[in-house]
């Protein structure tokens, strides 16, 4: 039996405290998308270094022998994986599964997941961050751009929700 979830206000307070801690200790916010992009760039640099080196965006990741994986956000994301794994174990929510609504096949759901991932991967770079690094951290910093980003996320999601409802409800 899965453990009951935290109250959302309590969960929000704990996440807020983790943002305060990164600022108090490191003087910066947390984030997730930067680490994934560093990982993508590293794989591409191994598979096809010429493409990476000729990319105006990615070449600076490796300038002067730099290793993009030796980055604050990468260490943080390693922690996220450990923390979520522990939470999954203690709450008995650890199972290979595809979560979806009742009206779509698992295969259909995975195509949506892939397409959504591509869009989010692109958009996180365009917006210079994601829900963590831009919306939460920037939101706490009272950044106008971060608040505009967050409201735009909900606008985009609400706009498309009706058309993809068979996936979820």
């Amino acid at each position: 039996m899965k453990k009951k979830l935290w109250d959302p206000v309590f969960g929000g307070i704990v996440i807020g405290i983790s943002i305060i801690l990164t600022f108090y200790i490191a003087g910066r916010g947390l984030g997730a998308s930067g680490a994934l992009t560093a990982f993508a760039a590293t794989i591409q640099n191994i598979v096809s270094p010429s493409v990476t080196q000729s990319s105006q965006y990615f070449s600076k990741y490796f300038a002067n022998g730099a290793n993009p994986l030796d980055d604050y956000l990468v260490y943080l994301v390693i922690g996220v994986m450990i923390g979520s794994f522990i939470a999954g174990m203690v709450s008995k929510d650890m199972k290979l599964e595809v979560l979806k609504g009742p009206n779509i096949s698992s295969k259909g759901r995975l195509w949506y997941a892939l397409a959504g991932g591509i869009l989010v991967g692109y958009a996180a770079r365009m917006a210079r961050g994601c829900t963590s690094g831009q919306a939460l951290v920037g939101g706490a910093e009272l950044s106008v751009g971060a608040w505009a980003f967050m409201f735009s996320i909900f606008a985009g999601g609400f706009a498309v929700a009706y058309f993809i409802r068979r996936q979820w409800i």
Binding site: L76, G79, A127, G138, S152, G157
Partner: protein
């Protein structure tokens, strides 16, 4: 000890890295215990079926905002040594719209997909794969959107500057928005979907 600790030379880079892993663990633990490894729950926000995602986001933002401001008033942190995010308004609005479409389709955002992947959610693993492809698409074809990406640059631009009020009042306004936004969305959830879903 006045923060930021690493920039004030109180801890080394190595210790800072260790703390990064520990804070990440707290963050990941909280994401999983808040139910954010479940794509159905996250997507539910876009149908007002389960508004826990925006409630957690609003609470996290106001907690961090009040906490950081309070610590600076107490003289425990030096805001001058913070890295503040710059606003590129139009690219962030367009990025946000695409992000929202992708989040409703994919059922995750980057942080939640990482947390869900390690608890065995196959849709999260596929989403992460898509994310890697999408960010490579952005970076490899960068000249196509280079100009737009760097447009509408407003530097560090905060709500208190936008409204021309002091920081305390801006935080109060944001907190009120968060509280009433959360309560209002919860009310809509109960209205559309009932209380026991």
């Amino acid at each position: 000890m006045i923060g930021p600790l690493v920039k004030n030379g109180i801890i080394s880079d190595g210790v800072n890295t260790l703390f990064a892993v520990l804070i990440g663990m707290l963050f990941g633990y909280a994401l999983q215990r808040s139910g954010f490894t479940n794509s159905k729950k996250i997507a539910g926000a876009f149908y007002m079926k389960d508004v826990d995602v925006p409630v957690v986001m609003f609470t996290a933002i106001t907690t961090a905002s009040i906490g950081l401001w309070g610590l600076s008033l107490l003289g425990l942190i030096d805001l001058g040594k913070f890295y503040f995010l710059p606003s590129y308004l139009l690219p962030m609005v367009v990025g946000g719209l695409i992000f929202g479409v992708g989040m409703a389709m994919g059922g995750f955002c980057p942080g939640t997909s990482i947390a869900a992947m390690v608890t065995g959610k196959i849709d999260a693993m596929v989403f992460v794969g898509g994310f890697l492809l999408g960010s490579l698409l952005f970076g490899d074809l960068y000249p196509l959107w280079n100009k737009f990406y760097n447009s509408d640059a407003n530097g560090v631009w905060r709500i208190d500057q936008l409204l021309n009020v002091n920081v305390g009042l801006a935080i109060l306004l944001v907190t009120l928005l968060a509280v009433f936004g959360s309560l209002g969305m919860r009310k809509l959830q109960y209205k559309f979907w009932g209380k026991n879903d």
